[in-house]
Symmetry: C2
Subunit: 136 residues, 2 copies
DNA sequence: GCTTGACTTGGAGTTAACTCCAGAGAGTAA
DNA sequence: TTACTCTCTGGAGTTAACTCCAAGTCAAGC
């Protein structure tokens, strides 16, 4: 598979694909005689995996570590697992934070709805204290 | 309240607090005669709010818009609400993505557990296909 | 009056993660 | 052969969001 096809398939620019390979986010892709990249199915799976993980913000550094460990073979199974467990933990924390913000936004939106509904009656009422001061 | 106290209280560097104000992430803080910032409770609430929103990745640009709209008064209530609704929507999307990744990581971790448990029996078994090829 | 420490401003520097570019080579089409 | 298209590499440039720095001000303590 040529880089143009992989780029199309995963909606990643060719530059990004080359960058991923250069920094070690995916293992080195084989070249044809002419030096042109020829992506295998396996390569594509790596691309998809990395795109997915980057998509939710796993750090490039960490993913590079994972790929490096992977290439070192079975001795690193434990370490790789621990790396994944750590990332799983981080994700959980971030999702909990987001859940909190989600609820906070909902509260704020509700209050805006109320204010908009009665906006003409209560002129001079400061939105500052009403909206911002709740749940300091 | 002095900048040092606010910095301490919210665990944001003084530079970050000044930066937030400079770019409009929080409204302008009043100064004493000597020119030194004197944060009110209201200012602190803004700092907390912005820290919280930035913490889950809402873009600086968007939050600046929100603050700007806020300062324009009641005419922007509707717009502000829409902005919050949009961010709420985005958060939901991101959380759904993260949920998927969470499950994917769990699957991967399970497979690593299996492999580690039987690592001595199955020598020569390639982790590449076993771990990476599932659920292409 | 002088030193010290916290604060000010404007502007430059940093970091992460791409993104773009110049110059060159290979393969195909006329 | 010439032109065109796709790709290559190494390196420079960009963007977002801080982070650091130099030079200066001010209030308090000695």
């Amino acid at each position: 598979m040529l880089i143009a096809e992989v780029s199309e398939k995963f909606e990643l620019s060719q530059d990004t694909l080359r960058y991923y390979e250069r920094v070690g986010l995916i293992p080195r892709v084989n070249r044809k005689n002419s030096g042109i990249r020829d992506y295998t199915e396996e390569d594509c799976r790596w691309v998809e995996f990395i795109k997915c993980m980057r998509g939710v913000g796993l750090p490039v550094e960490t993913l590079i570590d994972y790929v490096r460990l992977f290439q070192q073979g079975d001795e690193t199974l434990e370490t790789r697992k621990e790396l994944l467990v750590e990332q799983h933990k981080e994700l959980l924390i971030r999702m909990a934070d987001m859940q909190k913000v989600l609820e906070r936004l909902e509260g704020k939106i509700d209050r805006y709805d109320q204010m908009i509904g009665t906006a003409h009656q209560i002129t001079g009422f400061s939105p500052v204290n009403f909206v911002e001061s709740k749940g300091k």
